[in-house]
Amino acid sequence: MVERPDDPSTAAPRQELAVEVAGLHKWYGDFHVLHDINLNVLRGERIVICGPSGGGKSTLLRCINRLEDWQRGRIVVDGIELTEDPKRILAVRRDVGMVFQQFNLFPHLTVLENCTLAPIWVRHMPKREAEALAMTYLDRVKIPDQANKYPARLSGGQQQRVAIARALCMSPNIMLFDEPTSALDPEMVKEVLDTMVELAGDGITMLVVSHEMGFARQVADRVIFMDEGQIVEVNKPKEFFSHPQHERTRLFLKQILHLAGDSGALQPPVGEQPS
């Protein structure tokens, strides 16, 4: 409680908050996975969470739409406090889109059906309308021509873009990305990042667990570094990369920047559109 991370949004009025996490603790058995997490996310804010694996990044993300439960603390999403109440949970999930590391497309449905499933059955949208909506989003992720294929026929990058379109079809206010590019072949990372950069331009609230430092630098409003279940550092991307405050952050950055092969530029900006 004492070491509350430096959070520029603490003073912001309530309705400006998309996600409010306060004093969150979670244990898996005896293992303390999340340790006093306090985080306020403003509407339209884009946050990248990084840190070593096992640090609780994904777990935190999955708490926000209650795929995981927690033992202490509270989370408020879009003004709805998450409790055991299934109605609240469903209401939050309708409002929060999620993209997974392993895509998790439904293999027995076509790309189009994957996208229309939730609008039809959760939002009770007429089929035709849902299909039109799905096509606009498939258009935006640049794979309208694959609409009638089954996911298994698509490349990893295409599958992940379908997963993004599928989440967008529910018109969420908040998007959670759980290591969206970690399972992709290197040559497909860019197409997914491009899609996400474009999305960031639309002003949707984004929480991204990722090690794509180029993406963080280009898009994030704040970068959060998590280790051992705690938020170690929250900073603006520029500061985060040039003057990391915490010793642990410095070590982590040193390691992944070493892997990336250079110190500052990392990757070229990812904004350019593919043909």
Partner: protein, 383 residues
């Protein structure tokens, strides 16, 4: 780089030609050589198999076709006589008794109702199972709602519309086998799915109930279940309230099959990756929609071979209803072969072979259908 030497550096100047795949060794001879005579062991096996066929098939053909007796009024036709020193299978027996095998004691004047039932059922099955048939959504309504009512009216009768009541004690033969098997299959699948979902449920009470039911029913032989249904139930329920004997057996068969089906379906549920559950939940689907739209379609696809396997087992298990005095197809043959009029050494064999053929054709049909569906699913890459 120069230290490596020129021979390790290479840049392709011209793209390599794409070659057609090598031609398979063509012709019958090529096929024989690769498949039957590729090695000494293979040659030995091939020869042994050929010898076995030569040894076994001609006598069977002779008995069942060449020397068989195809017509006759009674058992004398199938007895050895000077004209026919070694008579073969007594198909005349099957021919004469065939209507009994199909209908049992169903009143002769009312048998058109059974025929109509068979037709509507066959129509329903084809419509439901043919993947290319039109409007398969309606076909499910027809099969699961219209058909049961129609069948009941047809078979049992409805005095209101002039169909006299035929008590189930008169039903018999293939009719009973088909009714028991169809009801068993139609009820065991949904019940099994519910039980499997219960066993995977997060609610301890539901899970406990499902586990107890499944383990209890699976741990008891079907004969015991049938006996309990037909002998013990009347002890607890007053006579006039006790359901019909056939219905009791139907319930027994359906419950028994559903316990097995539950375990089969549970295997499929476990095979669906966790990510599928999470993705469905993250989209805001509730439990039933997640299960019905995302999880079950995948689970059932994986388990299709096992489901059909259970159905085939169930179909053959229907023969056990005879222990509670229900006159199924096999029982009809049993009764007919005891007829002194047809006392001939070959009638029993012929009757049993006929029964075997019937069960084989039905079960093989199911198995072929399942393989067809599997092949389609694999081809469309949905798995």
């Amino acid at each position: 780089m120069s230290a490596i030497g020129d021979q390790f550096l290479y840049v392709r100047g011209v793209p390599a030609d794409r070659l057609p795949p090598p031609a398979a060794r063509a012709g019958v001879l090529g096929w024989l050589r690769t498949n039957l005579f590729s090695s000494p062991a293979n040659i030995t096996l091939t020869l042994l198999c050929v010898l076995f066929i030569v040894w076994a098939v001609p006598p069977l053909l002779r008995f069942f076709l060449i020397d068989a007796v195809w017509s006759g009024a009674d058992g004398d036709a199938c007895l050895a006589s000077p004209a026919q020193p070694q008579p073969g299978a007594c198909w005349a027996f099957v021919r004469v008794w065939s209507s009994y095998f199909v209908y049992g004691f169903y009143p002769i004047g009312q048998r058109w109702r059974v025929d109509l039932f068979f037709l509507t059922l066959a129509f329903g099955i084809v419509w439901l199972l043919r993947l290319s048939a039109p409007r398969r959504d309606i076909s499910a309504c027809y099969f699961f709602i219209v058909l049961p009512i129609l069948s009941f009216v047809l078979l049992h009768g409805a005095p209101l519309i002039g169909l006299s009541v035929v008590p189930t004690a008169l039903w018999g033969g293939i009719l009973v086998t088909v009714v028991v098997a169809t009801i068993g299959m139609v009820f065991s699948l949904p019940l099994g799915i519910l039980l499997a979902l219960g066993r995977c449920s997060e609610m301890p009470v539901v899970r406990l109930f499902a586990v107890i039911f499944i383990e209890f029913v699976r741990g008891v032989p079907l004969i015991t279940v049938l006996f309990m249904a037909s002998v013990m139930l009347p002890l607890f329920v007053p006579e006039h309230l006790a359901p019909d004997k056939l219905i009791r057996a139907l319930i027994g068969v359906a419950l028994f099959a559903s316990a097995y089906m539950a375990e089969v379906v549970r295997g499929g549920l476990i095979a669906v990756p966790r990510g599928q559950y999470e993705a469905a939940r993250a989209l805001g689907l509730g439990y039933w929609r997640m299960t019905g739209l995302v999880i079950l379609p995948q689970a059932l696809r994986v388990t299709l071979p096992n489901i059909v396997n259970t159905f085939i087992g169930l179909f053959k298990d229907t023969t056990l209803v005879f222990v509670v005095g229900i006159f199924d197809f096999l029982h009809a043959i049993e009764a007919a072969r005891a007829d002194p009029k047809w006392a001939a050494p070959t009638t029993t064999v012929t009757g049993y072979v006929f029964a075997g053929l019937f069960y084989f054709v039905c079960c093989y049909g199911m198995s072929r259908y399942a393989r067809n569906v599997e092949a389609r699913l694999t081809r469309s890459g949905r798995r």
